[in-house]
Symmetry: C2
């Protein structure tokens, strides 16, 4: 039995928040349905931001309800504040992901308040979640710009670890360490994420890497070494933050699955089905930049396919 | 004092052996001169293969002599056989790199003989080197397809380690473990390269990775962990093997320098000068595919420039 590792598709959220094309709700749901059919078990399906800020997410409620109806995977949504959390919880989503920034300047640009104000808001979201009727909603807590910031520059590592501890103490079910702008390197990942995993005890720690400077998969490898087993990724390497200058795509879902499988983990994903979906998504988004190596180069002859013994 | 790590430019050899444009000798030498000026200390400047097999290297003698005359860096050349070695040594190059393949099928496709025949040839090259007048020529010994082969598929790890030991015993000054087709992953690298470093004792071990499936820099990170401190790379991620179907570019020189510097190593390279050279090389090679993230995304605000304290 191989150990499991989880690749979470965040393409329908992070992947499309900066693209030119507003995707039809039906296409977003096709993305989810086919990713789930390929074996993806968690998908961040939308973002509960104001539609006037990101028009792409004007259909957040419809996508969330549609994704829940599809079944077969855990649907989650990003929420930037209490109002977004209330909207997301009202749809019946089983999981929501809150995010604040370790960089004060990015937090101000992204959600127009200080990081301490965002922390206080997280407390209110936990209370809202705890008071909500129905099954308990899982609450992820992301720390953006954890490895540096294109606005502020360096971010103190101690501050990132302090934020992780405070989010955990406040009631997060998971801490997600995010390299929003692709500044992280494997040494930093081992240090910061390693310290966080120790500091938060048994609480799971996930990573969210962008591949802006080519180190995305090296960072995944480093995170695996310090015990992380869940990674956000976008099909075709889409993604970026509208309020972080120079931010580009997430790590590519297909390549991340490939790496984890090669490292001996079971992702449960049929990579060929995922590559087929990627090509469909590319056709929906004319003029965008797509990245990723497996879709271009193909799988090695030596690749172990699901349910098939290694050659 | 940071520990040194060496990035070797192999663009004028591996980088251009499959491109459409035959570069003028003067441009190849400009490449070397400006890479050296940017701080690169070793450059594989050409390949002593028959010009009828790879017309790009019809000027091997002129490039070798021109590179030696430039000074400021160690110029080396690839030699596929005894005849190539004799030609290279005659030019006065201080270093030559021999290569054989761990995959029998790739060895047959590449140099039309078995791996054992290539090993025997290496013995003759060592004898030739030992008998040559003048300063002792450094002899690198590369093991191609060390992580798998697009023709043969899997390559037994034991065979790779055995070949490393036999090349070391035969007189190699360094063993270069090469992922010719981009099949390697960080787990394999730690295992195979780690075993080789133990097996060859104090003999230096270098790595030569291709980034065909996106794992190139993750593999560099893994090799660093098992003690490797020298890496082949090509400007703009050029490269490929004409006799390995599906082989694409080497790891990108700029991105490799960036990774090593971020990991705390001193490469001695001025990355901005290297990126400027990259753009010039791109202009010389119309219609080629270029890769690499730093040239596209730029350096982080937090990057420590040579001679400048980290911010």
């Amino acid at each position: 039995m191989r150990e499991r590792a989880c690749v979470r598709e965040v393409g329908p959220r992070d992947g499309i928040q900066m693209v030119r094309t507003v995707l039809a709700t039906e296409r977003k749901l096709t993305w989810c349905r086919r990713a789930a059919k390929a074996g993806i078990r968690e998908i961040e399906v939308t973002s509960f931001v104001p539609a006037k800020v990101v028009p792409q997410f004007g259909d957040a409620e419809a996508v969330a309800r549609g994704a829940i109806a599809l079944g077969g995977f855990t649907a989650s949504a990003l929420v930037p504040n209490l109002k977004g959390a209330a909207r997301a919880i009202a749809t019946g989503l089983p999981r929501i992901n809150y995010v604040l920034s370790a960089s004060e300047e990015h937090n101000l640009a992204n959600v127009r308040r200080t990081t301490e104000e965002s922390l206080a808001d997280f407390g209110r979201i936990v209370a809202l979640r705890n008071a909500a009727p129905g099954p308990r909603v899982t609450l992820g807590a992301g720390i953006a710009t954890a490895f540096g910031c294109t606005i502020q520059g360096a971010v103190p590592e101690k501050r990132v670890i302090e934020l992780a501890i405070r989010l955990a103490e406040a009631g997060a079910d998971e801490v997600i360490v995010a390299d929003t702008v692709g500044y992280g390197d494997p040494g930093q990942v081992r240090r910061i994420v390693g310290d966080i995993t120790k500091a938060v005890g048994k609480l799971p720690v996930a990573c969210h890497f962008h591949d802006t400077r080519g180190l995305g998969l090296a960072n995944v490898t480093a995170a695996i070494e310090v015990g992380v087993r869940a990674f956000d990724a976008s099909l075709a390497g889409l993604g970026g933050c509208p309020f972080a200058p120079g931010a580009t795509g997430n790590i590519d879902t297909e390549d991340t699955v490939f790496l984890l499988e090669q490292l001996g983990f079971d992702t449960g994903v049929d990579l060929e089905a995922l590559v087929a979906l990627r090509h469909e998504v590319e056709a929906w988004l004319p003029g965008e930049r797509f990245s990723g190596a497996i879709a271009r180069a193909g799988l090695p002859k030596t690749y172990r396919r699901p349910g098939v013994a290694a050659p």
